[in-house]
Amino acid sequence: MSAALDVKSLNRSFGALHVTRDVNLTLERGARRALIGPNGAGKTTLINLITGVLKPSSGAIVLDGADVTATSQAERARRGLARTFQINQLFRGLTVLENICMVIAERDGHANNLWRPTGTKRVILEEGLDHLDALRLTEDALKLVRELPYGRQRLVEIAMALAQRPRVLLLDEPAAGVPSSESHLILDAVAALDPDIAVLIIEHDMDVVFRFAKEITVLVQGAVFTQGTPEEIRRNEKVREVYLGQEHHHG
């Protein structure tokens, strides 16, 4: 059975700047992999390459056995790839429920309908409310996104990705910018993810990483420095030097 996501020898350069170097990465079904590395290592660039925001200079991206390297972002999303952004990318002028329903309507093709009013497809509303419920957002359903505190907006960001019913989920620093009083909401949501989804999470907080991840990939200067289980990484001296050492200095 093919892996959910297979990244093969991925390279990306901007002129003379080689930002992604020969990256190989595999996510099996149900994977829980963390992508860590110092600032500027190219983690978000890698996510952008996988999702199609950027085109690679060379290499391949295989989603569920199909080569998607030449396809668009939207096409990859339709094939089951979802992501959250490091900074919330939501429809701030719309209500939370409308945000989620937008995703569902795209997913099931209802969004192409020019004629029937949105409210008449109750199935979509119901499913949207279910997704909100799963993240405890039901009370905020009719609030405009821009009126929510940042932490709850981040939850909406995750709910949007989940509403795509993805097979592969890429989370870019899901707890970033969330005040510590609210970060447990994010962590609980991540912990409760469907065990069938393959998840790749970029994270700086090592507690989160070690709690969540079954495997860890360390990215340094655009290349895979090392990969392994949390135990192996924790014990790895060189990783400590390159990355965890920095963390300890920050305290």
């Binding site: 020019l114 008449t120 109750r122």
Partner: protein, 427 residues
């Protein structure tokens, strides 16, 4: 998936409320009848202004078409007159060259042709945004106009094609000198077009347009075929603009290349902004207000009208970003919520930074005063000569006067706003 927290009634209420809101979103609300009642009333109130009335209705339709692409989808275009013109010339040439002068089918023909052109053009240019897209839209309309001028034997050039004739409506209603038939014709057409636009706006497709405008990145990442959606709405918008253009030709029995003017594209954008973008009724308000004001003021003094439009635009962008509709809504909401602060005593709070603001305004006033005094020819009769007659002395006096006036205006403004600031704080 989630732990079993007991479901409170608050939870079910929230759920029901959310469902209700979205289900009812598209239902007709009673204020929506108002614009139509007003339109009908105008017929009886101003029976000898009905030719003007038809033109207002046509502009509303034109602005409505722009609202779809600009207000809802967020695509800035200054070339929409291209499609207006295509529609206008489609019915004109069909009548002249093909002898096809049935009006209603003419509207359909214009819609189809303009829409097809919209698909082709949109497919190419909607890959771009910003200045690039803006210039492409301008270039397209301009090229149509210039090409039309090249073949002025067909198009009549800027002098146009006068004396076009069209069959009576539905075979029965003759056109009359007062434009009464035309008015009802335009109104009926507007009603049909509006119904279509309203359905689109409340449909899932319409919702995705808002999504594209609000956050196109997000739309890509959830699998939305953004380009296809934009081309579709651009084509629909083009078709509607074409219908408006066709109506223009039919109601005026005349068309010239000026329908493609850049001015026309800019004007309809101003109308839309004025009324409020991204709203169904913004075009109604904006087009009506603009046309009425223009009709009155540009006859009075074209210069004054131009200044008025300029300052209207500036004030709209700075203070009334959501247009007249937005202002009206804010006003209603304020009245409804009650102003408890009105009872507070009216004290003036003068802060030190107010002096700084006064100084800034004085400087602005001084600059303006200087420019005017430096250049102003206060004897209006001499404007006809090539010479201007500012003098250094006058420049000096005007500078001082300008500073005083500038500071004065700002002082009044501060007095007003700091009072309401106090009042507001108390509410």
């Amino acid at each position: 998936m989630s732990e079993t927290k007991p479901r409170t009634s608050a939870f079910f209420e929230a759920r029901d409320r959310a469902t209700d809101y979205l289900v009812r979103r598209h239902h007709l609300r009673w204020p929506e009848v108002l614009p139509w009642l007003v339109a009908i009333a105008c017929f009886f109130l101003f029976p000898n202004r009905m030719t003007f009335g038809s033109q207002v209705l046509i502009m509303i339709m034109f602005a409505l078409s722009l609202d779809l692409i600009l207000g809802y989808a967020g695509i800035v275009t200054l070339g929409h007159a291209a499609f207006f013109g295509i529609g206008a010339y489609t019915v004109a040439l069909a009548s002249l060259k093909l002898g096809w002068s049935e009006p209603i089918s003419g509207l359909f023909g214009a819609a189809v042709i303009a829409g097809l052109v919209g698909v082709v053009v949109g497919w190419f240019i909607l890959r771009y945004r910003g200045l690039t897209l803006l210039m492409l839209t301008i270039a397209f309309a301009a090229m149509l106009q210039e090409s039309g001028n090249l073949r002025s034997d067909i198009t009549g050039g800027y002098d146009g094609l006068p004396g076009l004739t069209f069959d009576p409506l539905l075979g029965a209603f003759q056109y009359d000198l007062y434009g009464h038939t035309n008015y009802w014709y335009a109104l009926a057409a507007l009603a049909v077009v509006f119904y279509l636009v309203r359905r689109i706006v409340y449909s899932p497709f319409g919702q995705t347009l808002t999504g594209i405008r609000e956050n196109v990145r997000r739309m890509h990442s959830i699998g939305s075929p953004v380009h296809r959606r934009l081309v579709t709405v651009y084509a629909i918008s083009a078709a509607i603009a074409g219908v408006a253009g066709a109506l223009f030709t039919q109601t005026n029995a005349y068309v010239t290349l000026t329908v493609f003017d850049f001015d026309s594209s800019a004007k309809v954008m101003v109308m839309l902004i004025l009324g409020g973008t991204g709203r169904l009724y913004g075009p109604f308000l904006g087009a009506t207000v603009y046309m009425v004001l223009e009709d009155y003021f540009s006859k009075l003094s074209p210069t004054f009208w131009q200044f008025g439009i300029g300052i209207l635009l500036v004030l709209t962008v700075l203070f009334a970003r959501r247009g007249l509709l937005g202002v009206a809504e804010d006003f209603v909401r304020l009245r409804l919520s009650g102003r408890a602060g009105d009872a507070a005593p009216r004290r003036l709070v003068w802060k030190p930074e107010h002096w700084k603001a006064l100084g800034a305004s004085a400087l602005d006033g001084a600059i303006l005063g200087f420019l005017i005094g430096f250049a102003a020819n206060l004897s209006r009769t001499e404007l006809m000569s090539s010479f201007v007659a500012g003098t250094p002395a006058r420049a000096f006096i005007f500078t001082l006067g300008g500073a005083a006036i500038g500071a004065g205006i700002n002082a009044v403004y501060l007095l007003i706003t700091s009072r309401s600031a106090v009042a507001g704080a108390a509410s």
